[in-house]
């Protein structure tokens, strides 16, 4: 049995807990914390009880136990860090991850902040402690982009990548093109559907896509890129007329994240793109095209968000760690 501590009980955390409980994967949750409380049990926590408590708005454990306590004191092999992204400081997640790595615990995270801000430091720390740091869920939700890069395309040189990495923007642009909605109308609809936050800035100005681009660039090329290196334009100034003008040419407009190191391009911007292009996906879907020397172009399409979809990426990382490290020890 591999033991995990789960920090964060938002939509992703609940998806992970529920899936680990439902699927007999040989993974036991021995520590658990949300923003207000925590619990530990080396024999395994009663997940249905925790999930129903969360449903009723109750904390998941005792208010005397903090997330930091769980990370320090629980008995576990892998820390699952799924607290909300703080794009400015990465905290408190960076602190959580460092504490776990220092204790020679593996870490799996869906949190973009730490990986975008401190990728190199955290990776070095993991290497030093001979543990894994995996973050499949940080980019493009359920799409196994990290596994594809690491295994399927091992031996390929990645020459460039192009991605639709923000489902909110893609939904808005899809609706503007399909129904001739204005940006404001499509945003309102996205909010009603639960696809956009009350403050949509982070999504519509391309910040979220840019952070994911930075994570990909650092993972692939280890080139020390940060959010400040991204040439970024959002979708909030697009007009319904612009979408129609593109349409008349057999094209549409999508927010594309693009990295081509040999041309010094690291950019997130709305682009005119042929409707037949594989990156033109509908609704909240994400898509990623990699250009490589051997495989040439590879496009992956899938759900970029969602509780269970994101859990899929996290569980892929967990099982990788189990097969690679935990089983043998």
């Amino acid at each position: 049995m591999m033991r995990v501590a789960l920090i964060g009980m938002g939509s992703v955390g609940r998806g992970v807990a529920e899936t680990l409980y439902k699927k007999d994967l040989g993974i036991l949750i021995t520590g658990l914390a949300d923003s207000r409380s925590g619990c530990m049990d080396s024999q395994g926590i009663d997940i249905p009880a925790v999930l129903s408590a969360k449903k009723n708005g109750s904390p998941c454990g005792s208010p005397d136990i903090s997330a930091a306590d769980v990370i320090k004191k629980a008995e576990y092999d892998v820390l699952i860090e799924v607290t909300p992204t703080n794009a400015l400081t990465g905290e408190p997640a960076i602190g959580y991850i460092k504490t776990a790595l220092a204790q020679k615990k593996h870490v799996v995270t869906s949190n973009k902040g730490p990986i975008a801000l401190a990728c190199k430091e955290l990776r070095t720390m993991a290497q030093k402690n001979h543990v894994a740091l995996r973050y499949e869920a940080t980019v493009a939700g359920a799409i196994p982009i990290m596994h594809t890069l690491e295994h399927g395309l091992a031996g390929n040189e990645i020459l460039g990548l192009f991605g639709v990495l923000n489902g909110t923007c893609n939904y808005i642009l899809t609706r503007m093109a399909a129904e001739g909605l204005t940006y404001e109308q499509a945003l309102l609809e996205a909010r009603e559907m639960g696809y956009a936050e009350a403050d949509p800035t982070y999504d519509v100005q391309g910040i979220d896509a840019a952070i994911k681009l930075v994570i990909l660039a650092n993972t692939i090329w280890d080139n020390g890129m940060t959010l400040n290196n991204v040439d970024r334009t959002g979708i909030d100034l697009l007009t319904a007329d612009a979408l129609r003008l593109a349409e008349e040419d057999g094209c549409t407009i999508r927010l594309i994240a693009e990295a081509i190191p040999r041309k010094n391009i690291l950019r997130v911007s709305p682009r005119i793109i042929s409707k037949n292009h594989p990156l033109v996906v509908e609704g909240t879907l994400n898509a990623l095209t990699l250009e490589t020397d051997l495989a040439k172009e590879i496009t992956l399409i899938g759900r970029g968000a969602g509780s269970v979809e994101t859990a899929s990426a996290i569980i892929g990382d967990l099982l990788f760690i189990r097969d690679r490290y935990v089983k043998r020890s």
Binding site: F162, L237, T239, D249, I272
Partner: protein
């Protein structure tokens, strides 16, 4: 181009071969025999694409084959890209924006479609640019990018072919 050649077997092939020799791409060959023609020559029209700077070499090769070039109509601009610009396009002097591309000598605006929903509201335009080479297109787009920044316009560029 319009060619005049001897009306004898193998002449047409002889005239076409130099085109591929210089890396040209034949798009169409129009060959019409005048029924009452009493001359021993044949007029052939060929539409072709030729890389920059190869035309002189082709002329020379055709002459060596005994083919006479009657006329060459040259469409100079080969690369086309379409961008969309959004903002206060009229207030920021649209003809100056277009002029900045046209005055380069290597690229020009060949088409412009515009929507102006209401006074004081932002307009949207689709601008097609033609240029001689790929590098010229990149330079033209760089100019537009600079102009867009200066005039606070949103420039939506095409996603280029992955290359």
């Amino acid at each position: 181009m319009k060619l005049e050649m001897k009306d004898s077997p193998g002449q047409l092939v002889a005239a076409l071969k130099p085109i591929s020799d210089v890396g040209g791409n034949i798009i169409a060959v129009i060959h019409q025999r005048e029924p009452d023609s009493d001359t021993d020559t044949l007029d052939v029209q060929i539409v072709l694409e030729l890389p920059e700077g190869r035309l002189e070499k082709l002329k020379l090769l055709l002459q060596e084959q005994g083919v006479h070039i009657q006329r060459i109509g040259e469409e100079r601009l080969l690369y086309t890209q379409t961008v969309i610009m959004i903002g206060h396009l009229m207030h920021t002097d649209l003809s100056d924006t277009v002029g900045q591309i046209d005055s380069t000598g290597f690229a020009e605006v060949s088409e412009l479609s515009m929507c102006m929903p209401a006074i004081n509201e932002r307009s949207s335009s689709r601008i097609t640019i033609k240029s001689v080479t790929r590098e010229d297109m990149a330079a033209a787009l760089a100019i537009l990018r600079r102009v867009a920044l200066q005039k606070s316009l949103l420039l939506v560029e095409p996603l280029e072919d992955i290359a």
